[in-house]
């Protein structure tokens, strides 16, 4: 009897699951009918797992801006924005599943993806060729995808890791009184052991050959809470500078270990993903003096934040629990959303004010021209630098500053404006893109022809 009851229970659970599935399918079918003048934005986010402290503010900023555009402007050119979040947990396989899940949603499919993980970027890059959906990886992703003739769908807007690494070398060179003074110096790279952390190595090695500094590579395994040995090595080798290329809980752990081993924080420089509030606050006072690159959006609030408060937060529409409002990563998420929206706006000029396909949005991304006046008009004054892209150059201009944590907030170093040296990076991009094209048997685009 007991046996029967057990199986009855099992059968019942299966039945419930089946019922769930079928009603869900019906509900979905109904939803599709209602869609009309809508532009669908997929949102790959991570609000759980080891990288949640960084993923949450970014996703909040991104979605809050989309809400603002709907509430304040009534969408983009009258086309309402719709979106759906999908939790990747920073895991590549889940990210790919999210991509597949969201790419076909909305009347015209996904507008553009922000994978928010270099690993996911690598995995979906191939898929984008087939699906014709732009992959925006601003400030991360594949460094070689600047080359739009090979990577037709990737947009590392505003900078890549090669740019970032180059800027950091230039910066410490300046501190030493000239790049030639780096000879014989020792630079340690403490990096997240994933494609993200490994990307800058190629450039740092290239620069090491030019200037004669020693490069010490210290990988930290995911998720990065075990760094004792890493910092013991730093204590032993006493590098002149430490570049930090971490993400999530790894960043704060690095700073804590630096405190524990007595490495001066003033000699530590983080990439722009290692320079946000969740990276330093857990380390308390120990983080004082630590610097990182700023990328586009530093911390603080501006005109656009007032709009968000007025149109979104005050109406009780805030995303998440308002975590991170006005913080570095929140603002970066906002800028990410804004650039995507601007690309759609730009494409609407050519294709009309209707829901656009990924391919049409790509045209917008390739003809992005956000100048200072436009930035001011959008309320992003002080949160980004002008950017303009083309079919060949999918990155646009790349410029960053340095900000330092003073124990309370990020303080921008006045007058520091870093621009990567394209003389070094360009040949590297070309070589790497050629290799990729050969491996994948890709036919290069002819940009001159497409323009004409």
């Amino acid at each position: 009897m007991k046996q029967t009851a057990k199986y009855a229970m099992l059968a019942a659970s299966f039945a419930v699951a089946a019922a769930f599935g079928s009603t869900a399918a019906l509900a979905q079918a109904k939803k599709v009918d209602a869609q009309a003048k809508e532009q669908f934005f997929p949102v790959l986010s991570y609000r759980t797992g080891a990288y949640a402290p960084n993923g949450i503010p970014f996703a909040n900023g991104y979605v809050d801006y989309l809400k603002l555009v709907n509430a304040r402007d009534g969408g983009i050119g009258g086309v309402k924005i719709t979106w759906e979040e999908c939790e990747t947990g920073y895991a590549t396989d889940r990210g790919v599943e999210c991509y597949e899940r969201l790419k076909g949603k909305g009347p015209t499919g996904a507008t553009a993806f922000h994978p928010l993980s270099t690993g996911i970027t690598f995995a979906v890059t191939d898929k984008a060729f087939v699906d014709k959906i732009p992959i925006i990886t601003f400030g991360y992703g594949r460094a070689d995808s600047v080359d739009g003739t090979v990577f037709g769908w990737n947009f590392p807007l505003g900078g890549t890791y090669w740019d970032a690494a180059d800027m950091l070398v230039q910066h410490v060179g300046k501190k030493e009184g000239g790049l030639d003074k780096l000879k014989g110096k020792k630079i340690a790279l403490v990096y997240h052991d994933s494609p993200y952390g490994k990307e800058p190595i190629a450039l740092l090695q290239e620069r090491a050959k030019m200037h004669g500094y020693d490069l010490l590579l210290l990988p930290v395994t995911h998720p990065g809470v075990e760094q004792k040995a890493t910092w013991l090595q730093i204590r032993q080798q006493r590098p002149d500078y430490v570049f930090l290329w971490g993400w999530g809980v790894m960043n704060s752990t690095s700073i804590k270990e630096a405190v524990a081993t007595g490495y001066p924080r003033e000699k530590m420089y983080g990439v722009w993903w290692s320079g946000a509030e969740p990276d330093v606050t857990p380390a308390g006072d120990g983080a004082k003096g630590y610097s990182a690159l700023t990328f586009l959006a530093p911390a603080g609030t501006g005109a656009v934040h007032k709009d968000i408060l007025k149109h979104v937060h005050d109406k009780g529409q805030a995303t998440g629990n308002k975590e991170g409002f006005g913080e570095v990563l929140y603002n970066r998420g906002m800028v990410g959303a804004m650039m995507t929206v601007e690309a759609v706006k730009r494409a609407q000029i050519k294709y009309g004010k209707k829901p656009l396909k990924g391919e049409e949005v790509r045209w917008g991304l390739e003809n992005l021209a956000i100048d200072n006046a436009a930035i001011k008009k959008l309320g992003f004054d002080g949160f980004m630098t002008p950017i303009s892209t083309s079919c060949v150059d999918h990155r646009g201009d790349s410029e960053a500053g340095i900000h330092t944590w003073d124990g309370k907030q990020w303080v921008i170093e006045k007058g520091t404006k870093l621009v990567a040296d394209s003389q070094i990076i360009k040949p590297m991009i070309r070589a790497s893109a050629e290799k990729y094209a050969a491996e994948k048997k890709i036919v290069k685009r002819d940009c001159a022809k497409e323009a004409g």
Partner: protein
């Protein structure tokens, strides 16, 4: 009423040795295959292919392989994703360095290389057993993760440590659309199932099972434990290595060592245990269950229009997944395959109660 085997007599050795001795089973199997080959490709959306069916088919091959080791030979491995990684990177390097090889040859070679590595890490099984062995196989997991992340040759000096592959080509057939991938993988799975089925009912399978049930007793009746355990590791790793190559080339197309991490190993083990230890059918059920469940759980709230955040949905997914695993282990510790068997028993009598 319909599922009755009386009246079906075996009158030759051939019919006694058939893989599906009962007529109804054969009919069902052919029906299923016909459905899989002729109906599914026309009715299923791309999303279902890419996110559900293709991972399912590949992981079913891997689960078959792991089941041979854990379910039939009784040796626990927590590091099988490492052998998937070996297969994937072996295939990558073979394609890269010997481009004229046919992909089927590459698959077999990748499987063989994985088998060799599997035997190497299987050697401790001669000294230690049970969960001790399970934890010891983690050494394979972490060591292989490290090797592929660090030794640049394996990734062809890619600066990010991530490798890419070109679309598959088989005798001039480019396997790149979801349907083509699905059909190709389906064929692979069928071949591997037939081989596995014949292995486990042959002398080698019997040697494995004797070792599993009691290794000392097996030794007494003349089964060499070295032979039984190491062949199990070799063949299991071969399966898993092939699955790894397919996972890399057909499913991912571009991967990093993290793609074959401990989570995947644990998922493989879940598959064989939830599906049913020592049951080939169970490997299918387990693979389907583990592939489909998290994805469905994650989307149910959205489908039902329940307004909860993705964070909440993801936490719930974890909780329900964990609870369901425990629930299944409690309700049916012998796995889904056992449920199937019970269902079949009932079918014999249906619709009469006795």
């Amino acid at each position: 009423m319909f599922y009755r085997e009386n009246g079906q007599f075996k009158s030759s050795y051939g019919s006694d040795q058939q893989m599906l001795p009962i007529l109804q089973d054969r009919a069902f199997m052919f029906g299923l295959l016909a459905f899989a080959f002729l109906v599914v490709p026309f009715v299923v959306r791309d999303y279902v292919f890419l996110s559900l069916l293709i991972p399912f088919l590949i992981l079913a091959v891997a689960a078959l392989g792991l089941n041979l080791l854990v379910g039939y030979c009784g040796q626990i491995s927590l590091g099988h994703a490492a052998f998937m990684a070996v297969g994937a990177y072996a295939a990558y390097n073979l394609v890269l360095r010997v481009p004229q090889l046919n992909f089927l040859v590459v698959l077999v070679l990748a499987g063989l290389i994985a088998a060799a590595v599997g035997v190497l890490f299987g050697i401790p099984s001669l000294r230690i057993k049970g969960l001790y062995l399970g934890v010891a196989t983690l050494a394979a997991q972490f060591f292989m993760d490290w090797v592929f992340a660090r030794v640049k040759w394996f990734t062809n000096y890619a600066h990010s440590g991530s490798v890419q592959t070109a679309p598959l080509e088989l005798f001039g057939w480019t396997v790149d659309s979801p349907v083509e991938k699905y059909l190709f993988l389906l064929c692979v799975l069928i071949v591997f199932t037939i081989v596995a089925n014949n292995l486990v009912r042959g002398h080698i399978g019997r040697a494995w099972m004797a070792t599993r049930d009691m290794d000392v007793a097996a030794e007494v009746i003349g089964i060499r434990p070295v032979y039984a355990k190491l062949t199990a590791f070799a063949i299991s790793s071969f399966y898993v290595g092939v699955a790894g190559a397919l996972w890399g080339f057909v499913h991912l197309g571009s991967w990093e060592p993290l793609a074959f991490n401990l989570t995947l190993s644990l998922n493989l083990l879940f598959m064989v245990i939830i599906g049913g230890l020592g049951s080939l059918l169970g490997s299918y059920f387990g693979a389907a269950f583990i592939v489909v469940l998290p994805i469905v759980l994650n989307q149910v709230p959205a489908w039902l229009g329940v307004p909860i955040s993705t964070a909440m949905a993801s936490h719930l997914e974890f909780m329900i997944f964990g609870a369901l695993i425990v629930f299944f282990l409690i309700v049916e510790p012998h796995g889904l395959a056992r449920l199937w068997a019970i269902g079949k028993e009932k079918m014999r009598l249906w619709p009469f109660p006795h």
